[in-house]
Symmetry: C2
DNA sequence: GCACACACGTGTACAG
DNA sequence: CTGTACACGTGTGTGC
């Protein structure tokens, strides 16, 4: 029979079988120092309770550990061994997850920052050059030149170099704003084999000095 | 003196003090059944080693647990108690981190998806309406109308409703592409108290039916 | 004094 | 049979 102390409700053990106390029986005197026997009995009971508590702790610990496939109840030593393997596993998991989370947070942050920068750039004053592709071969190019700069640079050269890259100027219009800035709207015909993305890069690079 | 068995190298205990074996001494016969004594001695040594191993396990477990400020060595029962509190903490941490990581991953994924959708949309054919803010009060609005649609909708109404929202048409130009699409470029003067973002929303909504 | 913790020897039960 | 695990009683040390 297994002593399933772990299921007991941890009441202090009241009943003590006197037969199981060899030294108490071997002591011939009975009525003399009853207090000594009392003490011994109490000590035994206390030790019993202590063991009971420890077993209960073992039982609780067993419940926390990852379930084993074995139907047999784990022994107390192997319970500690198991906990000894399990705890570092958990700590490692925590460490790994923390690192991963950290990485994700920074990634998300710089993603957001990029987004914010892009969004902050879009609304105004950044649209020195905007390209809108209307089809695979048509692009609407919109250029804004600040008052200070548009007199310094030969704008016709830009148009010419665009033609060098396979872009033909189909239609164009321009007007001047109240503060003197110039706006051009150019409808460009591109060669079919020119990738829009690459072209946008080219345009950005070409118009960067503006 | 504390018995620091946990520091010993776990060698099986060889030397046994015979004086500490009461039952062996009380057995009068010596040369009779030496095998019984041998057995008892072995049993005792085995039990001793077992306890030693258990203590070593306790020692290792103590090292894994979060350090306590107390200088005193933890007792074995309190070691299990501590582990009993510590393991759920770790499990909870793992669970929390896993959930957080999961959330971050999905967030990052949909962020990327949004980004991809946006990038896929930008290059061509999406620019039915583009707003470029040149200053806090000036915006360059560029509208492309497909051949099929631009005859069905009263474009002047759009301009009028823009004025209702506090946008004044400063300058405008338009031209027709080779395939019959119409392009408008409008320079708008906005009231200062109109937030660009909100306005962009308005424009998007207004021009959506196109 | 008392509660607690620890180590020990011992008997018993169970699995290889 | 041997090793392992467990519970028990007991002696001892330690801190409140």
């Amino acid at each position: 029979m297994e002593p399933f102390y772990q299921f007991s409700s941890l009441q202090p053990s009241q009943q003590v079988k006197l037969e199981s106390c060899p030294t108490l029986l071997s002591a011939g005197v009975v009525g003399d120092d009853i207090t000594a026997m009392d003490k011994k009995l109490k000590h035994n009971a206390n030790e019993r309770d202590r063991r009971r508590k420890i077993n209960s702790l073992y039982y609780s610990l067993r419940c926390l550990l990852p379930p084993t496939d074995s139907m047999k109840r784990m022994s107390n030593p192997s319970t500690i061994s198991k906990a000894l393997k399990y705890i570092p596993e958990l700590q490692q998991q925590v460490e790994g997850l923390r690192r991963r989370k950290e990485g994700l947070v920074t990634k998300l942050n710089e993603e957001n920052l990029k987004q914010i920068r892009k969004n902050n750039k879009e609304p105004w004053m950044s649209s020195l050059c905007a390209v809108n592709w209307l089809s695979e071969t048509e692009a609407l190019l919109q250029i804004a030149l600040e008052e200070q700069t548009h007199t310094q640079l030969p704008f016709s050269q830009i148009l010419l170099s665009l033609e060098d890259d396979g872009l033909l100027l189909s239609t164009a219009s321009s007007f001047r704003s109240s503060n003197g800035s110039l706006f051009f709207t150019l409808l460009l015909q591109a060669k079919a084999n020119i990738l829009p993305r690459v072209l946008q890069e080219i345009l950005n690079k070409k118009l960067k000095p503006l």
